[in-house]
């Protein structure tokens, strides 16, 4: 930190301050925890796809996990691969980014990359919410947990982008 010194004269003189480019590790830990939660949820939903008896959820009324998880939107288009598999891959990469930030806390590019990755996840979540409501007309609670995890991930990555490091 460059000590702030007061110049003489008018109060409009600039007071130089700098911020460290290192961010608190708590943010990276939170991102890692969210990624682990996401891995767990995606892994469970993938297992449910192949063994439907594992599903613990309402299947009547508006909240109907089975209707959502068995709709044509539950697989990657044109394939029989459950859409939770790309989700699992997303959270694995998110975990890798979070762990990298713990090891290299001064690396701002990692934070930027994680924010972009988080943004992509949020956009995907918004699309899946749209499909749940508009096409399937049912809500899947487990899917909503995944969407919330994606939203929190993005918000924390945004938080960690500021304050921006000083150009030296």
């Amino acid at each position: 930190m460059v000590p702030a010194t007061a110049g003489a004269g008018s109060g409009s003189e600039l007071r130089p301050t700098t911020y460290s480019s290192q961010s608190s590790p708590l943010g990276a830990v939170a991102l890692a925890v969210l990624a682990l939660i996401g891995i767990g949820l995606a892994g469970y939903l993938t297992a449910v796809h192949y063994a439907p008896t594992l599903l613990v959820c309402s299947n009547k009324g508006l909240i109907n996990c089975e209707a959502v998880l068995t709709s044509s939107y539950s697989v990657v288009p044109g394939t029989s691969i459950p859409i939770t598999v790309p989700g699992l891959a997303f959270f694995l990469i998110s975990l890798a980014l979070a762990v990298s930030q713990l090891r290299r806390p001064a690396n701002y590019q990692l934070r930027q990359a994680h924010a972009l990755w988080g943004g992509l996840g949020l956009l995907t979540a918004l699309y899946l919410v749209f499909v749940e409501v508009m096409e399937v007309h049912n809500i899947c609670l487990w899917c909503s947990c995944v969407h919330l995890t994606l939203l929190l991930t993005f918000l924390i990555t945004l938080w960690r982008l500021y304050p921006k490091p000083i150009a030296r």
Binding site: G7, E13, L14, G78, V129, P163
Partner: protein, 323 residues
Amino acid sequence: MSKKSMAARRQMREAAAEGRLPGARQQSRSRTKGRNYRRNTSGRPWGLISGVVGVVAVFVIVVVLIDISLQGALKQDTKVLPAPASLVTALANIPAQTLDAVKGGAIANYPVNIPSSYKPVALSAKGLPEVGFVGAEYCPYCAVQRWSLIIGLSPFGTWSGLHTIRSSVYDAPSNIPTFSFAYGAKLTSKYLVFSTHELESNVSISKTGAPYKSLQSVTGPLATAYSTIDTASGYPFLDYAGKLAQVGSEEGTTTTDVAALQDLSWNKVLTKLRDPKSPIAQVVLGGANYVTAATCTITGNKPAAVCNSSRITTLESQLAASA
């Protein structure tokens, strides 16, 4: 204020800025660095985060409100479930006497020889004759055709990856229980290759019927045959190795037997298939017999056990004479 005093004030301000006033402290070192210094006033992005949360909340609320306003009496069943093994097994083992009793059934539009004027291209893959299917999940006639295909091709191989769906509720006949070939369905056979192309799903974009969401595409010789022979690009379309083709519903213009499948369950359809006189058996099993006969013509009448049966040889003769 006089001009003199204004000038004096200005001089004092300039002197202060340059630190020339008596007793002025030295300028900070960073001030002399000029370009290397940049003030950073960024704090935590509360506004941005609140904005993102707000946008997401508004998005969800708007989507829910739009859905509520669009909800009508009809609700498309979009479930795609693995076909129960017991159902597939039952379809692969329809008793021969039932199939014999139905023979051609209610089928008015069976596969016919492709005229040479269409310059048909022999369809084959992996050294085996290819049967190509072009259809759409929403299509009610494709819905019935798939039952016939599954039953009719069972003597030639083993099915896997079949999924149950329902045809469109907005079409007529509506909500027919059927299967989709789009989710990894496969016929493992040493006699032929069965290629399937579900061009559209059963999800209506307008929530009132057509158009439906695109699903798969068709390319290569089958695409050429489809566009050449089925000039209306309708569904279903079947091409038997470039020798025989079926354009449109196997039942032809009569749709009453197809309508008999509306709103039924798959098990209910299976029950109806046990009665050779039922309208459902007449169209599904009649169609299956024609599928078997057409396939036998391109596999060199293999396997002999089914291709040499009297009902199949009779239908093969009919197909051979068709134009």
